[in-house]
């Protein structure tokens, strides 16, 4: 919204100005636009429709195998990116057939405690089901929900909450 209003005002002004002034103004506008984009990017580039897409909190089970997937508010549906992560985990688990895992499901702090415990369990099970369709035996997977009890980011803002809505695959042995 900011960018739009700046552009409108300045387009009117530009026509009345000589070439030199116009060029300098354009630079100024460009700076405005860039800085506006830059600040906006920080908050949006790490989230896509409520789901965390950044890498801040991710750890790796093995090289190129991220340990966690993220969810939208109140959801337990796996995103395209999450499915890709889980396929990598499945491939790694197939190669290391002696490894067993715990899927730890979590919720953000914006829900009642008891419901969040169930939601964490549901999220971890979504990940479990997907791993099983890629050939990982349910014997190797256990599920543990922490609800909202173990946030990874303690902030009270949408980005922090998106990092906390997660299912983390942890080596159990």
């Amino acid at each position: 919204m900011n960018i739009l209003s700046i552009r409108n005002i300045d387009q009117g002004a530009i026509m009345k100005l000589n070439k030199i002034l116009k060029n300098t103004l354009l630079v100024v506008i460009a700076c405005f636009a860039l800085s506006a984009c830059a600040t906006k990017k920080v908050s949006t580039s790490q989230m896509q429709s409520d789901v965390y897409t950044g890498t801040d909190t991710i750890e790796y089970l093995a090289s190129g195998v991220p340990d966690r997937v993220f969810f939208a508010t109140n959801e337990s549906v796996l995103t395209t990116a999450s499915r890709e992560t889980l396929r990598k985990q499945a491939a790694w688990l197939r190669k290391n057939s002696d490894i067993t895992i715990v899927l730890e499901g979590h919720a953000d702090e914006r829900g009642t405690r008891e419901y969040n415990l169930a939601l964490g369990e549901r999220r971890a099970n979504a990940a479990k089901d997907y791993l099983m369709t890629y050939g990982i035996s349910s014997d190797r997977i256990s599920v543990l929900s922490y609800g909202k009890e173990r946030p990874v980011d303690s902030g009270s803002n949408p980005l922090a909450w998106s990092k906390n809505r997660r299912s983390v695959t942890v080596k159990a042995n």
């Binding site: 009642t112 419901y115 415990l117 939601l119 369990e121 009270s156």
Partner: protein
Amino acid sequence: MKSIINKFLILLLVILFFPIKSFGLIEVDITRGNLNPLPLAVSPLSIDEKSKKSFENLLKKKNIGEEISSIVENNLKTSGLFNPLNKDAFLQAPDIANLKPRFEDWNLIKAQALITGKVSNVDKKLRVEFRLWDVLAGKEMMALAFTTVPTNWRRVGHIISDKVYERLTGEKGYFDTRIIYVAEEGPKTKRIKKLAIMDQDGANNKFLTLGNELVLTPRFNPTSQMVTYLSYFRNLPRVYLLDIETGMQEVVGDFPGMTFAPRFSPDGKKIIMSFANDGKSDIYTMDLENRIVEKITNHPSIDTSPSYSPDGKYICFNSDRSGYQQIYVMKSDGSNVKRISFGNGIYGTPVWSPRGDLIAFTKLHKGKFYIGVMRTDGSGERLLTENFYQEAPSWSPNGRVLIFYRETKTDEKGKGFSAKLWSIDLTGYNERMVKTPTDGSDPSWSSLLSN
């Protein structure tokens, strides 16, 4: 716990005079928000020198009479219905007031009711008598005497408060009660949680677990001797049963996964809880005598936070079967499931009131959390308090007050987080923080201990 109650059985309730069924004496209306608390005077309980000395040695309290009356004063003040007047203005000495108050003197300082009393040491026991007077009518309203072991002195103060509350409001009090809750410490990402128990006024705080494992949602049984709660012992979240007196703990049932959200049935014979399996959570009961487990709901959704009606015939719970968390009511066998919450937002943690007519709940709407009440058919929704985050109301045994917990917003650097217990009247007035030594959450109110 049991021993405390046994000790208290020694307590002899001697009715000196029957409360006079009276004509037009003072009454306190508790059905509406009370903006004009009743002014009353709590005269310090008088005590003879010899008794005073003996109790000072025993209890390390200079004047046990004054201590007991200040408990009464604090309770009545906290209820929001009474305005205990400043003692400095009292004209009559405690011992004389207890014999025969000079009502003109008490009228002068605008006291409408007066509490007087006397403490003495009788055969190493604590004997307390107290009287409640109607100042305007110039009449005694009630007179009672108790004898008990001296260490019970705080409870005597609470029982006097309950009697006064009952006489003046017509409803049972809630002062001789305890709160069980989760004491919290440490950073938000690695919170250490312990079960803790304290008197309703915050005294006698005691930790029941060490904090080695995560514990959540403790709830009393009807006699307030047992607690059911969730523990992550050995990283297996399961419902446990704890005997407060003996410290004995046992896991409830033999479920192959997480059990949570436990509560007792109103007769104390069953535990109702959720069991999560394959991404869905259903409600189960377990009979504590024969260990028989029954499945109450059977739905692919999340069904949790169950709570029985006081007659045990119905269960309210929350479910996301409609797509979002809403409140439902069903018969206790699981039949006749009916959604009752239809307002804007999502609804959780329904708790049936001990009077049976209302259900308290948590509501989330447009980023704000509310504690509210509705009738058991979902009509008459009333929101009592709005905040950034608050949930899990628990009723006082008389159904007049709700206790819940509230968390504050945390800034970018992770600073500013706190979790505190709060209470509010059913009327929406008299909201206050309940002091605890550490942060606290998940409070559960006991029944009246003396009954």
